[in-house]
Each structure stands twice: as C-alpha cells, then as structure tokens.
Symmetry: C2
Subunit: 470 residues, 2 copies
C-alpha cells in the first residue's frame, strides 16, 4: 500500500510461496531485481513482509527459504453455529457500492469519487504538515478536536436563519466516518425493537446500521421533492416512531432534493410528534446547482441530528465526519461513541481541518463541482442515447448518482451479472429498498474514473438490456 | 493541533471574542504578532479558524470584527427526555483513565504511555513516507489491508505450537482500535440479553462495550494466575454463557498473568462448553519479563477470538488494532464491522505497517521495555516507601499499572478527590468492577510522563490516606 512496487513484488512472491514446497529456496535478491525491474531495497522490503507473515525465513549467507509449516488438519468450526445462535439480521456481506471490481472493468457502481475529483495538492500538504506536528502523538477527546468541531459548527452556523440559535462547537461530535454516526444514532436514540422511519428507497448503509442496531425500519414513500408530509405524519402516528432518517439533499440513490418549503413541512411534522429528524447531509460538497441548505439550520429545539461527512470529499483515507446534536440526545450519542471507539485519530482530525481551512479549499470545491456537473451531463446524455428504454425521474442537482428505472419485467440481478461479464459494473437498485423494490432500477455513479468510457459502459448496459427485452 | 502556536493564538482570540460585544474590532495582525511572538502567517491562520467558526468577520482594508449574532433564547430540549425513553444502561460519561487532568498535576491515572515511550523516529518516518504514497487516496476493504493482516497473523503464527493450525491473513480483521472490536464481539457473538463471563475486576472499556451491546455481564473471580478453572466451569454451566472475556497477560488493572498451565486449563473449560474465549492481548508489547505467549496460539478449533492493539505501543493517533477469529464467528464480526464503520483508514493502516515492519521496531521495543521496567521498579519502591499501608498483591511482569489495595474502610472516592485537589491524579478502583468492588483499590499507572515525580505524587497519596485513617 505504501509503495506499489513493494506490494507487487510481495504479492508475486506470496503466490510463488503458496505453491512451493517447504524448504524451497527463493530466487536471489539479484534475480528478483532483474525480474521485476525494481531496486534491491524494494525486494528486501518484500522479503521482510513475507518474513513477518511467517511465510519465509532467511539464513544469512545461505539464502531465503519457504518456511516449513507443521502439517495442518482441516478445522471444524461446527460447534460455533450453535454457540452463536441465529443472527438477528442477515445483511449482505458486502454491498455493491463497496465491491472492488476487476481493474479493467468500467466501474459505474462505486459510491466514491474518482481521485481526480479529490484535493490532491491540499491533501499532500496536509499530510506533510501534520506529519511534522504534534498531532501524530496526541490522544483526542471523545467528542473530538475543538477547532475541527468549531469548523463543523461554523459551516451550519453560517446558514442558520436569524432568530434561530446556531449550533456551537460543543454540539458537535467528531466521527470516524458518518457510518459510525448512523450506528450510534440508531442505538442511542431509537434502540433495539423500536421503529425508525426511512424514505424508500434510501441509503443501503443506513439500512445496514439500522439492522445492526436491531431497529425496526418503517418505509415511507419518497418523491423527487422528498416525502409527502401527510404520509410522514401518518407513519409517525401509526408506529409511534420518534425518529425519521433522511437525506434531504441529493438523496442516495434517487437524487431527490427537498425544497425549502418541504423542509419546513417535514420539520413541522417531526416537531408535532416530538421526534428527531436524522439528517444525513452526505452530499453537502457535491451540489452542482446552488448550495445545500441543511434542514438543521432551521431547527431551534434539538429536533435535527445532523450528519456531515468529509470522507468522500477530502479522501477515502481520511475517515472523518461529524454529528451535530443538542440536548440529552447528544449526551446519549457521546456515551455510545465512548463505548464504541473511545476517540477518533487526532492525526486524521488534524489533516481534515488542515484541508478544509486551507485557502485553496473553496477553489477546489468550485473546480470539483464544475467537473461533477460535466460528468453528470455527459452521463445523462449517454444514458439517453445508449439506453433509450431507461427512464430518469429527475436529473439530480447534486450528489454522485443517476437512478434509472428500467422497463417493467427487467430481471435486474441477471442484467447486472451479465453487464459485469461484459466489462461494466453497475449497482442493482434492490439494495436501497427497505422492503419490496418499487420497480426495476439501477444506480449509475458519474463520479468514478474514466468518464471517457461512460458511453462505452452504457452501450454495454443498453445491449444487455435489449437482449433481455428481445 | 497541527501547529501549537496557531492553536494557542486561536484559543486566546476565542476567549477574547466570547466576552467582547458584537462589532468589536480585533487587535491588528501586527499587534497580535507582537503580543504572541508568532509569525503573521500564524495569526492569519488563527483568524481563518475563527472566521470558519462564524465568530469573526474580516472587512478588507478595515479590520477584523466580532460577528454580531442574532439574539438567542434558551432552548428547551425537554421533549427529548420522553422521546429517548429510559436508557438501557447508564455508563459513566468519561472514565478516569480517559480524563484530561490539569497539565500541572502529577498524572498517575492515564491509560496511555507517555510520549518518550513511543517510537518517535519510526513514526515520523512512517508519516512522511506514507504521506507521499498512494495510501492517502486508497479505500480499504472491510477486513483491512492484506499486508497488515498478514503481519498480525504472522505475530501469532510465530508462536503457534507445532501441530496447531496457525492463523492466516484471511482470519484477521483490522480495527479502528480494539475498543471497536470489543463492541463488535459483544454484539455479534453474544448479543443483547445474553450472558458473557468476565474476570472481576476487569477492563472498564470492556464493561462499557458490554453495556452498550446490552449484554449481561457475569463476574468470575480473578486471581494473580487468572480465574480458577472450576469457578469458570461453574459459571458457564449456571448461566449458559458461550463467551468469556479476559486479558490473560497483565490484566488491566491487576497485572495478573496466566501461566501456560492455567491457559490450557481455561481453554479446556471453554472447549468443554462450546464457548469462546475473547482474549484481549492489550499489553502484548509491554511485557517486561519474558514475552507474551497468547492463548490464541494454543487454539485449533476457533475457540479464541484474539484482539491486539497497536494504539498504545505505536501512537494514540494511530488508531489501529486487529482481531483474529475463525469460522462463522469471523463472518459475523465482519458483517458487524461493515455496518459499524465500513472500513479503517488506509493511511493509518499503512503507517502502522510501516512502523512495525521497520528494522528499528524490535530495537525500539527492547529499549521501551527496559524503560518500562525501570519505571515499574521505581513506582513499586516509591509506593512501598510513601504509602506503607497500601498492599500490592503482585508486582506485574508487564502492562502499565500497579493495583494497590488500601486499608479496609478507606473512602476511595473521597481519597481520589482530595488527591486531585492536592495535585496528583489517581484512578479509583471501583470502575474496574462489574459489580461490588472486592475492596478499596486504586490503580496507579507507571507509564505516564515525569517518572521523577512519582515519589512526590505518591507522597501526596500517602499523606491524604494517613489523614483519612487518622
């Protein structure tokens, strides 16, 4: 990971060792330098990794050998099945947006922006500066670094309406990614066996976190402008739920965005039921038309628990997000975070703060949004041209995805498998539905690598789909 | 955090702004440069932070001013109390070992080693190298980086007995700190409402994670050589528990260490009950007499779930640990990790791997262990001299703590409060007991900063204790 060539050499050696007999001698450092075209230091580093893994051993002056392992017999873990009891949920092991595709494939499934959309220069500077600072030695508090909390609070405070108390640094809890925040919110504010309302479809990670917490998910129909307030009110009344999870700006997967009026209506319903709105502002930095105006900025009585991520906009390796909550809700969440992970790496917090307070951050965001808009437009155009039977309910004004409805009767799972076989990876819509899918959907992400191959990828999707229809 | 002087200036400005009227003009950059003895760039950076936090605003060419905030009214979060229902557990908000003490105080309470015990040079090199590598852009898989997993597996494989299948990289799950692993293990392998056996006393973080998971904690009496196997067998039979959580090497807080014979006996009991031993090898790198020989290395049928941390031995900012489990247990845990945090920062994983595979790591460990031994010996000697009525059941052969029993009738909470008032922070033993404390104990950590003040700190403890007795 540190050094690609070391990883490559280590990987090849590991494959060789796996099939070699114990005691076999490895090729010499000199031979491997020639074979891989790398430096002797790289070969030595690869040797060290295999040695650390117990796969090989060096005998100085003699050579490096495959370690002899004691004979192993197949293990029987059958007893575990009874000891573990039936799982209370059966979520999928790895969801489509998290899958690593064949590196040659056209990847339209991922949930993460391609590298050229990330702030490369700012991040390199931040790593270098923070690496020389004290942050690499520091233990953070449970709630996180005060300056970073202040930054997150300031982002919301800047758009808070006059007369509404803006959030302060003390209302912020820094998270090792917002997925951890969702887990904490469902555990601490809803609790096992209690209901939570969600839009349908909605983010698969939220469904997974809810399943983990043992929370009962109650779907409410979503729409291009958000849920119907009357539907929502009925669901609160019927179920006694005290929380509604939603992504008001560029919902994943649909791209739906609530209007200001809808946000007020939803907040009224939430208030009337003494409930929480869990606002997952995942795409805050990915608006391509206008800015995101969080519902949390309209809240003055602790009804909105607000989540904001930097993982997707700063770097997938900088797992930092935050949660803003007030009142006893925040205390409950903080207790859960202490039990769950004690604190977030001070190094990553410092890197995140360094990037988002750098003078170049706003400029980067502007450029990145321009690129995202171009990619979105390209993907919409290519989808229209190459998959004419697909239907987009809306062209999202932000986010990373298009949500395409396919003709009735499409076998989406088969379609996705066949597409992958022909070299393009798309995500089947089913994963985003808490209950029955409302139709055959695929999600295509326009922030992945190689936009110049969008057309080619969608052409394959179009052909495979036509074959199924024909 | 990145730059101490920026943080200092920002902190002072924030304090000033908090008491200033909206619209007040801040001192000029030049004045602040003079006042704090820092560079103009540092002052600008501090300004940027406050601006980001919405506290001040610049008017170019005019100056920098305290922002006027809309009038705020006190918020009423009373509705939340009903919405949240009674919490299913009431753990302490912040435990003693996590508290930040007055920087002037003599800190004998912390759970983390002082900076001079950490691998400073190795870590700086690792930050610099990894910062220039691809790891800063990489998304990890749920289970973690293959090379790091291989290293963790190799550490166990190196001490696995002949005839026993050694763990492989595929059995390893990388964690953002082992606290997260405990949470996952209690959720995924025990489950809400089911019992788990623990030694008494035991690590407070495990008690907290168990409470969070809704698991019923069943205490088993510990001893200097670990729990009595007959006690343990009885507890398994009586409760139907399928898991036993323990720290076999240098248990926190007692320092107890299981002999090889005891490890075999415990493993026999665990096997006979088709149960799991959750082995928390937290102090693996902190052995000062001999090496730690994990119980997991004796396991051939997936009975031991093994946890190993690097946070305390590499750096508190490198939140990386790992869990080794086999069979369906590992699958359950991996599903929980996906729901909880998706993946661990590839950057931190790469830094951890870089440090522990560096040629200097073994040398560092040797030096650090020598220092720890000297600190332990000093603390034992000073405790004996300054607090003669305290009793140590054992001098631990590793770990970071002494566990001292005080005379019967000591009011430990009052003692700890009075000590803090006089400038020394120690941890009350109560937090480590899952039920009633078995006596008045304090835990003193010998890995904190300033060993030259151990004597002074313990002299205060001795005086306060004598006052209580007299």
């Amino acid at each position: 990971m540190v050094d690609d060539s070391t990883a490559t050499v280590a990987h090849s050696l590991r494959a060789w060792v796996a099939t070699a007999s114990p005691g076999s001698r490895l090729p010499s450092n000199r031979e491997l330098v020639a074979r891989f075209g790398v430096s002797p230091v790289t070969v030595q580093k690869a040797f060290r990794r295999l040695t650390a893994g117990g796969l090989i051993e060096s005998r100085p002056g003699v050579g490096t050998f495959v370690r002899s392992r004691p004979a192993v017999r197949p293990a029987d873990y059958g007893w575990q099945t009874a000891a573990l009891r039936a799982p209370h949920t059966r979520p999928p092991a790895v969801s489509a947006p998290m899958r690593s595709a064949d590196p040659e494939a056209i990847a339209l499934h991922s949930g993460y922006p391609a590298r050229d959309l990330l702030p490369e220069r700012l991040l390199r500077n931040a790593f270098a500066r923070v690496g020389r600072s004290e942050a690499g030695w520091t233990r953070s508090s449970v709630a996180g670094d005060p300056d970073l909390r202040s930054w997150f609070a300031g982002e919301l405070a800047a758009v808070t309406a006059a007369g509404t108390t803006p959030p302060a640094a003390r209302d912020v809890v820094v998270l090792p990614g917002t997925q951890s925040g969702l887990s904490s919110v469902f555990r601490a504010l809803v609790g096992s066996g209690h209901p939570v309302l969600v839009e349908s479809p909605t983010y698969w990670g939220a469904l997974l976190a809810a399943a983990q917490a043992g929370v009962d998910v109650v779907p409410v129909r979503g729409g291009p402008d958000g849920p119907d307030p009357a539907d929502l009110a009925r669901a609160f009344t019927e179920t006694g739920a005290r929380a509604f999870y939603a992504q008001p700006a560029f919902a994943n997967p649909t791209g739906a965005r609530w209007s200001a009026e809808r946000a007020d209506q939803v907040l009224d319903v939430v208030r009337a039921h003494d409930a929480f709105l869990v606002e997952d502002d995942w795409a805050h930095d990915f608006a391509v038309e206008g800015e995101v105006s969080p519902v949390a900025a309209r809240d003055d009585a602790g009804h909105v628990v607000y989540l904001r991520s930097l993982t997707k906009s700063v770097s997938p390796a900088v797992r930092v997000g935050a949660l803003v909550a007030r009142g006893p809700a925040r205390e409950r969440i903080l207790t859960d975070r202490l039990a769950e992970s004690v604190y977030v790496s001070a190094f990553l917090q410092a890197v995140a703060l360094e990037v988002v307070t750098a003078p170049g951050w706003r400029t980067h965001l502007r450029t990145m949004r321009g690129n995202l808009r171009a990619r979105r437009d390209l993907m919409v155009e290519e989808l229209d041209r190459r998959v004419p039977s697909a239907h987009l309910a809306l062209v999202p004004a932000g986010g990373l995805n298009l949500w395409a409805r396919l003709p009735e009767g499409t076998d989406v799972q088969r379609l996705v498998r066949e597409c992958e076989h022909e070299g393009v990876v798309v995500a089947a819509g089913d994963e985003w539905f808490p209950a029955e899918p409302s139709g055959p959907f695929v999600r295509v992400n326009y922030s992945g690598p190689e936009p110049e191959r969008f057309g080619e990828g969608l052409a394959i999707l179009g052909r495979v789909l036509a074959r199924q229809e024909g």
